[in-house]
Symmetry: D2
Amino acid sequence: MHIGLIGLGKMGGNMRSRLRAQGIEVTGFDRNPDVTDVATVAEMVAALPAPRTVWVMVPAGAITDAVIGELNELLEPGDLVIDGGNSRFTEDFKHAELLGTKGIDYIDAGVSGGVWGRENGYGLMVGGSAAQVERVMPVFDALRPDGPREEGFVHVGEVGAGHYAKMVHNGIEYALMQAYAEGYELLDARSDLIKDVPGTFKAWQRGTVVRSWLLELLVRALDEDADLSDIEGYVDDSGEGRWTVEEAIANAVPVPTISASIFARFVSRQDDSPAMKAVAALRNQFGGHEVKKAEG
Amino acid sequence: MHIGLIGLGKMGGNMRSRLRAQGIEVTGFDRNPDVTDVATVAEMVAALPAPRTVWVMVPAGAITDAVIGELNELLEPGDLVIDGGNSRFTEDFKHAELLGTKGIDYIDAGVSGGVWGRENGYGLMVGGSAAQVERVMPVFDALRPDGPREEGFVHVGEVGAGHYAKMVHNGIEYALMQAYAEGYELLDARSDLIKDVPGTFKAWQRGTVVRSWLLELLVRALDEDADLSDIEGYVDDSGEGRWTVEEAIANAVPVPTISASIFARFVSRQDDSPAMKAVAALRNQFGGHEVKKAEG
Amino acid sequence: MHIGLIGLGKMGGNMRSRLRAQGIEVTGFDRNPDVTDVATVAEMVAALPAPRTVWVMVPAGAITDAVIGELNELLEPGDLVIDGGNSRFTEDFKHAELLGTKGIDYIDAGVSGGVWGRENGYGLMVGGSAAQVERVMPVFDALRPDGPREEGFVHVGEVGAGHYAKMVHNGIEYALMQAYAEGYELLDARSDLIKDVPGTFKAWQRGTVVRSWLLELLVRALDEDADLSDIEGYVDDSGEGRWTVEEAIANAVPVPTISASIFARFVSRQDDSPAMKAVAALRNQFGGHEVKKAEG
Amino acid sequence: MHIGLIGLGKMGGNMRSRLRAQGIEVTGFDRNPDVTDVATVAEMVAALPAPRTVWVMVPAGAITDAVIGELNELLEPGDLVIDGGNSRFTEDFKHAELLGTKGIDYIDAGVSGGVWGRENGYGLMVGGSAAQVERVMPVFDALRPDGPREEGFVHVGEVGAGHYAKMVHNGIEYALMQAYAEGYELLDARSDLIKDVPGTFKAWQRGTVVRSWLLELLVRALDEDADLSDIEGYVDDSGEGRWTVEEAIANAVPVPTISASIFARFVSRQDDSPAMKAVAALRNQFGGHEVKKAEG
């Protein structure tokens, strides 16, 4: 099988390597001349056998829009576009409709695994028609981890379902990380009693209820920096976490741990908290409690 | 009526003033010679008519314990001790038992109102026997705000009930403050659209669902400092908020807003968050996301 | 002054009464022939002096859209539409643009006060141009509570700012209600100790830090039904609370108490919780903990 | 090595089996004559070589207290008691002091693994002196999972540290379970889009960031009951989760996801929510919103 792949950054570049290692022919395009296989998207399209399959792996939003717009110009009826980026599932409806007008098929693929995917394979959640999913199954099989297909790949439903499942996956991921982090902070706070915090996490890797891949990664991090003194507690967040809460609210689903995880990240990035200024001001007003004066 | 009052700090001093203004005779003791009426607790006790009433208004914990221990030595059967401080309700059981062995009565009184109480009166929640509460009703009537007695005073139940109600009062207070503070931060975040944040809070004082005394205090604070730029978002917490959550957990009562309010205060006092260091470390491990290096 | 008022339901009908009592002439239209002053919107428009002012007080969303569409047909350049309903602030941008194309002005007005507004007046937060706000100030003055204008009315900013402020007001309102409710449940859980829950809330009305209008309403509710035994713990939510959380997330503002309040309402409406089924299933899997079998 | 084991229930019985399979001689005592090896604790003690080692595996609280009290009578200086149950770490201080007076040593051991431990081994977190831990290492090695010792066993610190680490482990566990459960509910809520919820969880087992043992257990549960229709969303909680929040509060550590997990369990067990009754009552008071009448 021979596919096109647009976007050869951290994720796309690794995916090209894994696909080729698994026997899939890949013609990759990237704006960065150091990594691209071809000079233009058009050249990439020209290199592919019809019906063509193009995997898009670029930042969600305007860039994905632009790439899919360009593909809509260049591809032909019967071709297929797969968006493997972190697009919101509502974008899939729009992209599928645009391409569909011209007879081009569309699959959305949620991809998990980060920098480890090249070696371990990527967890895949896809949305689209059964026929199209079947057609590119060799690509999915090349990307997914070894083992039974159903343990690393799922056809979740029609267009949008793949990114929806990936969105929920990431929402869960946020809360899992926060859970371990709260436990870490509590152990760390009792250094009078807990004499080996890294060793405790290490010992949780086998036999316990909390064992997981994220735990193993935390063990690695603590191996490198036992008290995380080199790292600042500043955490970005990406779209999926936010969208998960928005979807939860739209569907009246309570998500207290997922939302708490996101709020903790928001706070982590604030130099000072307007909300807590207001609480400090209130305490001062009713109780005469001293406030900390901001430094000029 | 003539009572003793131990503790003449910010709260106790104001209470002495209000009691006297309302016609209650007060002999006050404080370690601070500038404010005390008598040189020793013994001297205060000697000045009181039997059966004596002594109101204790000192910091909860060891100091309250010591004062009540001393009173247990000095007072006689039939006398009455009122703990008006911020003691945990479980302390009341202990104090009532100690004094009771000697035939001394005990009332716990939760007192709300802060620095405004001298002028406005104090909200009172008391626990103890009906007979004792009745006996010192003139004192409660002098301290409570004008208006119907039942709108500023309640006999909640037996010993401990007064402080329990005050504890819950403060738990609610924490969440109310946090609620306004979250709204403040959100309005503040949209300064492109919201051109008058202080004016918005000011306008909520009449007719709206959110009008309250705390809102009025926030309006005062914003009058003094329209964007709270002089105040740091650093907020202490006292025992009552914590005890409220502990009691909630002990009684299987979900208190998501009260606990969130307390956690927000904890975070406000951290230079850096160990938990968020752990999350940052995890993201770096699985996704290669950059971390902010802590400054040496 | 003479204005048109579309929508004479619970809110609109009361507002008509208050406006007339304050000397504002009102021609009201409602689909319900029992309450309307005129048979059609066109008839209402015909009755108004130019430049006309029409206050829209109908359900947010499709109905408001339809009414504003109809007014766009019937009104003339220089006329003014005020949306006093619970529209999302983003709708205001759309409505102002539509009407603006034809030279019709637009103001959004957030209105708080519920069924009490007719007597007490309504808290008002408005968005629009200074000139238009000035022009209809007699209407705002008639609707707002007695007292200083700035304590019941605010011109928050340009179009959209009024509804935005009202949205945040309602988000705060949700958390305030939840705060009192958590305190209520905790007092209720300790009926062994707390012998007078309604009396405790009643006594918080004067002197305490938590006194507020919502507290007074809770006192009224407990006067009518001391243990709320006639009421089911089932709580709806409207758009403003959800939008507040969405806006908070879009602006990276942590709102733990507001979101917790909404989640509590979601849970209150569930017959059974899919999430808690999953937790029960997990406990059964790892610990052999018994699950409650669902009844067939 | 030959040890005594008190408590042969679900956990203790399995541990006896695993210990024997690994070559440790065990004399077990249980009140249940069907499973016990000896008729009395005294008989068990008599059967053990000095210095004796007795592992206690009974319910935390009064029963553990009683067993340790009995052992204090029966054992001799130089003997060792290991509490492997779910005792609060503060109990360990008490038990170590009691036994220590008589020269009997004490180790607290947090044990994770549930019903799977017999086959997979148990994750172990222990507190006590290095010399004692070393002495019974063969027992720990027999109980812990295969693989490197440090991945299934940790000597956390002095007495109490083992149960403390286990307490935090369980707090994390609560939040992890809640995280998956929230994701499950959100996927379930969009059955219009998500056509294979069990398949989605199954596919997360390899390559994804959220893969874990708990995820595998959820997959098993969904294999048995694809929509969990046989299970009621009713979830108990045990001491460790509550203690984790109490400890967090005592140490000013924010634990929003762990507390949210516990509150969700509290709610799951309520027939009706007093708090939500209060919110419903409030909405009715200010907005005239209808309440659901409780059924007589």
